[in-house]
């Protein structure tokens, strides 16, 4: 069992937890992910590591409720625990490798974080700050109430730009609009990291391709085991089929086939929707609507 030391809601449907997992905390690096499983009947859910404390032996995760298992996870409190918590999985971010540090220091790096993608961007920016690398961070959400980590990010980013789609906080517009505005104002970047919903990463990549800024994205496809065994997370990068769990999760964004990745992500929408509906409606849902198979 892996006990939860802290649990808090960051924004609508977005939750943060510190989990005791000493083996994972001892070996993880920014860019890697964990798989959590709430109990015997839960799904294995991949989550990018948001922060880690090697001495305390803890990992910070941030997740959004999307299906039955994450909805049940949201109800956990400090003192509760996960039955399973495994990692670190995937390859660390290339930016955060000591051996690349001299090269990294020469780069003008911009991060673009969208929605819950702010969480996995944080440890990278923090690591870079600790290693004396300057960064620009553009973090955005649909509206002010969905923003989180603004204070934390302010402490580690050299330049922070906060955006909201509706203009309720910070720059009025999307991350791509903000990046264009910075470039128009004369700033130059030669490396971009974009993490967020696939549709956002797709449009960031479209823009950075025009601006000729090499861009790394962190993919979050459907996974089962997370160790390279099932192939559920396969995606097309350039001409090659890659497994996000062992070859990624970070890839060259200009080579990723986002349309196909988005289609694959929707593969279990119907099944997940049913499980979620059954959980939300509990005993009040007796089927018979003709849409859900009738038994849930």
């Amino acid at each position: 069992m892996y006990s939860i030391l802290k649990a808090e809601q960051l924004a609508d449907k977005i939750y943060l937890m510190d989990v005791k997992a000493p083996r994972v905390a001892a070996s993880c690096l920014p860019g890697q992910f964990v798989i959590v499983k709430i109990d015997g009947v839960g799904e294995r859910i991949p989550l990018t590591i948001c922060d880690y404390d090697r001495e305390a032996g803890t990992i910070t995760i941030v997740f959004q409720t999307v299906g039955a298992s994450t909805m049940r996870m949201a109800e956990l409190k400090a003192g509760d625990s996960f039955e399973d918590f495994v990692g670190p999985l995937g390859l660390p971010s290339e930016l955060c490798e000591e051996e690349n540090l001299e090269e990294t220091k020469k780069k003008k790096i911009v991060f673009i974080a969208g929605g819950v993608g702010t969480a996995p961007v944080y440890p990278q920016v923090k690591w870079l700050k600790e290693h004396g690398v300057d960064t620009t961070v553009i973090m955005g959400s649909r509206t002010k109430d969905l923003l989180f980590f603004v204070d934390k990010m302010e402490k580690v980013a050299t330049q922070l730009c906060v955006t909201t789609d509706d203009g309720s906080y910070g720059f009025h517009g999307m991350g791509t609009n903000q990046l264009q505005a910075l470039v128009d104002a004369g700033q130059t970047f030669d490396h971009c990291v974009a993490i967020g919903p696939m549709i956002m990463m797709k449009f960031v990549c479209k823009l950075t391709k025009e601006l000729e800024i090499p861009t790394v994205v962190s993919m979050n496809p459907i996974m089962v085991d997370g160790t390279g065994m099932c192939g559920a997370c396969r995606l097309v990068v350039g001409d090659e089929v890659k497994f996000a769990c062992v070859d990624g999760p970070e890839f060259d964004g200009h080579l990723v086939d986002f349309d196909q990745a988005m289609a694959r992500q929707a593969q279990y929408k119907t099944e997940e929707g049913r499980a979620k509906l059954a959980l939300e409606e509990g005993d009040t849902h007796h089927g018979g609507c003709g849409h859900c198979g009738g038994d849930k």
Partner: protein, 463 residues
């Protein structure tokens, strides 16, 4: 005793094919004690027993059958336990027809003795009567790490524990058993009743199992040896990455590896009410491949309610799956489209599978494996309608361990190089099972685990 025809096996009862095609309960119901004792009388108790030579873990088969014949099932179990840590598993999934039973002298004129069914009966009886295998009386204090809790790892760990070693198994998944829990379905190998019980037996020998530890990621082999005091390591990490064909349409929604489909169903229990993990219940499923894993996937899809076609590029005689599995699949209603090979997966406007294009094949000259290689018949392409395609084409080794451990050599296929006794190119590190051979069988992995346990023991004796 009933009248036993020495040339014919005592039949074993099975669930009716049409009933079992709709449930996940075990197909074969096993012998009763009377049936087992009757079948045991057919054994010739050969002095130079060929069956033992056919067994990868060298169980003293005539000796245990002799005890079954006399009704001493507990004694029979202790004889099997000397050689095998997982008899209830092996009695169910070993390809006996090409091993022990294939060499049975009784089989020359009549049917060979049902060694597998007798082993299964003995192990099931022991479990139901609370009999446990005997552990070591004294610990020798040497710490050994075992990577992976599949058949190779469990066997190696069990044998080492019996010799007095302090053994810890590290398992990447959340449950112990490896392919026995994620790969082989419930209807062939019950998870709680059989697999969990055999894992408990290994633990009762003193073996510790730590789940959720991925060697090569969570911790490396080098660190286990340098920082955690393990003096030797056995790698039984299994086969790994699923293969795909590389044909158009393979990334479409509705195309799964057999590993994914079976893991969702078996490990995550997607077929059962109340579990969160989803599975795609197709209406018309095409399984590509002809091995045991393909049969498992096909029979699972059938039980989830689909019409199932197995597409295989060679003929029936060349199917790599066990004859019993093919026979069961046919009985249950799986349709075999043999001598056909997929050339393209057809995709609808929403990115989902709508069918599969195949080309008919004929058999040409035998290839290096001795099997006649299939050749395309020009112009014979046609389409099979389908909403789900399951690729069951084998696996290639996972590089996680070899790439993170100093001094471990792999061959050009990525398999770890190991000697007969499991020794790798790194001192005190042994390996066996699919990680060394590529995808093979449970019992071969167990044989390798057993050989490596002996190899590790010898290493300590000479140290």
């Amino acid at each position: 005793m009933a009248n036993v025809d020495v040339l014919v096996r005592v039949p074993v009862s099975e669930q009716d094919p049409l009933v079992r095609a709709k449930n996940f309960d075990e197909v074969c119901l096993g012998y009763s004690k009377e049936e087992a004792m009757d079948e045991a009388t057919r054994c010739l108790n050969c002095k130079n027993a060929q069956c033992v030579k056919g067994c990868p873990v060298s169980i003293n088969i005539p000796a245990f059958i002799e005890q079954v014949k006399d009704g001493n099932i507990e004694k029979a179990y202790s004889i099997i336990s000397e050689s095998s840590a997982l008899p209830a598993v092996c009695g169910r999934v070993c390809p006996q027809e090409s091993q022990c039973e294939g060499k049975c002298i009784r089989g020359i004129k009549g049917e060979p003795v049902s060694i597998g069914k007798l082993e299964r009966f003995t192990a099931d009886w022991a479990r139901e009567n609370g009999i446990k295998p005997q552990g070591a009386e004294e610990k020798n204090g040497h710490k050994v790490a075992v990577v992976g809790s599949g058949p190779a790892g469990l066997t190696c760990a069990g044998d080492l524990a019996k010799l007095g070693y302090d053994v810890t198994i590290f398992e990447a998944l959340h449950e112990a058993g490896g392919v026995l829990v994620y790969g082989i379905p419930e209807f062939r190998l019950p998870k709680t009743k059989v697999v969990a019980a055999e894992v408990e037996n290994v633990k009762s020998l003193g073996v510790k199992i730590e789940t959720n530890v991925i060697i090569g990621k969570t911790i490396t082999i080098d660190k286990l040896m340098e920082e955690e005091g393990f003096e030797a390591v056995f790698i039984g990490s299994g086969a790994g990455l699923p293969r795909f064909m590389g044909i158009p349409g393979e990334q479409a929604n509705g195309v799964f590896s057999a590993n994914e489909f079976l893991t969702r169903n078996n490990l995550m229990k997607a077929y059962q009410e109340g579990y969160d993990t989803p599975i795609s219940r197709g209406k018309k499923v095409v399984v590509v491949g002809g091995g045991n894993v393909a049969m498992d996937a096909a029979r699972t899809a059938l039980r989830l309610g689909a019409e199932v076609h197995v597409v295989y590029r060679r003929g029936e005689a060349e199917l790599p799956a066990r004859a019993e599995e093919v026979h069961h699949a046919k009985e249950e209603g799986v349709i075999f489209d043999l001598l056909q090979n997929p050339t393209e997966i057809l995709v609808d406007e929403n990115g989902w599978v709508s069918g599969i294009k195949v080309i008919k094949m004929e058999l040409g000259e035998p290839d290096e494996s001795g099997r006649r290689s299939p050749v395309e018949i020009p112009g014979s392409e046609y389409e099979i309608e389908a909403d789900t395609v399951i690729m069951s084409l084998g696996t290639s080794p996972n590089p996680l361990i070899s790439s993170t451990t100093k001094g471990i050599e792999t061959n050009r296929r990525g398999c770890i190089v190991a000697e007969e006794n499991g020794a790798t190119t790194k001192t005190a590190v042994y390996a066996g099972g699919d990680a060394v051979t590529g995808a093979a069988t449970v019992i071969l992995a167990m044989g390798a685990g057993k050989a490596a346990a002996a190899g590790i023991h010898e290493y300590f004796m000479n140290k």
